[in-house]
Amino acid sequence: MNMKNIKSLLAISCFALASVVMHGNVMAQQANDPKFNKMMKDGFKADGIAGLDRIQQDETQKFCSDPVFANSKQGTKMREKIQKMNMDSIKQPSDGKYIGDWKKGEAIAQSGRGATWTDKADTVIGGGCYNCHQIDPKEISYGNIGPSLTGYGKMRGYSQEVVTYTWNRINNSKAYNACSNMPRFAHFKLLNEQQIQDVMALLLDPASPVNK
C-alpha cells in the first residue's frame, strides 16, 4: 500500500468517524427513511414463531441491505468491523470435537425446513445446504448460489487449519465475508453444535461420499 492510499484511507476513516459522531450514521450508507420504516412496520404482522422482531435489523443486516455502499471502497472499514464482530462471536466446539456423523450431516444438508411462520417452535431446522451447494455428487438437485463442495476434504486436505476454517464458516460465514449469502447458523441457533459437527463430517470425513 503506498502513502497516497494510506492518506486517503485515513481521510475516509476520519470523515466516517466524524459523521458517526455528527449524524449517528456511517458516511454514504443509505439514510434512514421514515416513510420506508413506516411501510415496513405497517406491511407485516407477526404469525406464529415469525414475530415482528425479525424485521428489526442487526448491524450486519443493516449494512448488507445497502449493497452499493457495502461493496464500495468507503464501505471497507465497516465491512472489516462487521467481519471481526462475527468472527469474535464464533465458539469452538465445547467438547473439542469437530467431526460428527456424515450420514446425519447429509440429512441436515438435504432439509430446507424450519423457522417459517408455518413451522412450530420445535420444528427441527434443516441446514438447507443443497439449496445453494453441490455436495454429494450423487444428488443432482442442488443449487449454485454458493460454490460446489463436492470433493471438499479431498481437495483441501484434513489439516486442523482446514477444519477450523470450515467450522467457523458454517458457524458464521459473515466472519469471512460480511455480506455472504450464507445464514449465520450458530448466531441465530439454526443448527446446534452437534448438527454442525455432523455437517462438518459430510465435508471432512474421508468416508463421506463428498470425498470419494
Binding site: 420506508f36 404482522k45 404469525d47 415469525a50 435489523q57 423457522a115 449454485n144 460454490p147 459473515k174 441457533k189
Partner: protein, 271 residues
C-alpha cells in the same frame, strides 16, 4: 450452457477442473430434462379452470349492493379488462394511491359491490373471499396474455413506490439474513434445480413478473402475485406480509417496472 460452464468454473476449485466440468455436464443434462418436463406439462394449464370461474364471478351480481364488477376501472377506464394487467401497478386518482391488481380489485369490490376489504385482507389464501379473488385475477390476467408489460413511473407517487420497493427488495432480515436479493440479485443462479431470475435486470424481472400469477403444480393451486410474494417472504423467514399492503405493492412496482418491455405470459404454469 456456455454461461453455466463458466460459472461452474468460477465457483469451483481450480484443482478440480476435470471433476467440476464433468459434474457440470451432468447438471446440464438434468436441467435439460427439467426443461423437457416443463414442455410436457405446458399444454393444458389448469389456470384455465380458474379463468372460466373468474369470468362468471366478474359478471355475476354480488355483495350488499348486488352489483357486478363489469364497471370496474383497472386503469384503462371503467369495464376495460383487456390489457389492464399489463399496466399495473399504477396510480389511481380516486384512491390517491398506487395499486396493484388485487388491491385495485378490492377497491372495485368495495365501491361497486359494497364488500368490506378487511374481510378480503384477513381471509386465508385459497379460501372464502380469496378464492373468488383468485379466480377473478385469473380471468383478468388472461386478458393481457401476449401484451407488452408497460408500467409507468411518471407520477411522483409511482416513482416513490418504485424507490420504496427497491429498498424493500434489498432489505435483509430474519434469522437467515435473507432479502429478496439474496436469491434474485444475480444471473444464472439456482435453488436446487429451480432457476432464479435476476429481478434487478429487465430480462430477469420479465421472467418473474411476466409469468405470475400462475398455476403452481406443487400445490395444485392457482397463485396470485400477492400469494407468490407472501410465500417468498415465508421462505425468507420474515413475518407475515399483510395482503395488499403498501410493502407488497412497492415490491411489485419494483419488479413490474424493471420488467417493462417484456411480455405478459400469465397465467403461467410453475413448479
Amino acid at each position: 450452457m456456455q454461461r453455466k460452464f463458466t460459472l461452474g468454473l468460477a465457483s469451483g476449485m481450480a484443482a478440480a477442473l476435470l471433476m467440476v466440468s464433468s459434474s457440470v455436464s451432468a447438471q446440464n443434462s438434468a436441467t435439460d430434462d427439467i426443461a423437457k418436463y416443463r414442455e410436457m406439462i405446458a399444454d393444458g394449464n389448469p389456470s384455465e379452470l380458474y379463468e372460466a370461474a373468474g369470468e362468471e364471478l366478474w359478471k355475476k351480481p354480488a355483495g350488499p349492493k348486488n352489483a357486478t364488477l363489469e364497471k370496474c376501472d383497472l386503469g384503462l377506464g371503467p369495464g376495460v379488462v383487456k390489457g389492464a394487467a399489463a399496466q399495473l401497478p399504477r396510480y389511481f386518482k380516486d384512491t390517491n394511491k398506487v395499486q396493484d391488481l388485487e388491491s385495485r380489485l378490492m377497491t372495485c369490490m368495495q365501491k361497486l359491490q359494497g364488500r368490506d376489504p378487511q374481510e378480503m385482507i384477513d381471509a386465508p389464501f385459497q379460501k372464502g373471499p380469496k378464492k373468488d379473488m383468485e379466480a377473478i385475477v385469473a380471468y383478468v390476467v388472461t386478458l393481457s396474455k401476449g401484451d407488452k408489460i408497460k408500467v409507468s413511473t411518471a407520477h411522483p407517487k409511482e416513482k416513490e413506490m418504485y424507490e420504496l420497493g427497491k429498498r424493500a427488495f434489498f432489505f435483509q432480515g430474519g434469522p437467515m439474513d435473507f432479502s429478496c436479493a439474496s436469491c434474485h440479485g444475480e444471473d444464472g443462479k439456482r435453488i436446487r434445480l429451480q432457476d432464479l431470475p435476476n429481478i434487478t435486470t429487465q430480462k430477469g424481472a420479465a421472467l418473474g413478473w411476466g409469468y405470475w400469477p400462475a398455476y403452481r403444480v406443487s400445490s395444485g393451486q392457482f397463485w396470485t402475485m400477492q400469494q407468490r410474494l407472501n410465500d417468498c417472504y415465508r421462505q425468507q423467514r420474515f413475518p407475515f406480509p399483510i395482503y395488499a399492503s403498501d410493502l407488497t405493492i412497492a415490491v411489485s412496482m419494483y419488479m413490474a417496472k424493471n420488467a417493462n418491455g417484456g411480455t405478459v405470459e400469465t397465467p403461467g404454469l410453475k413448479r
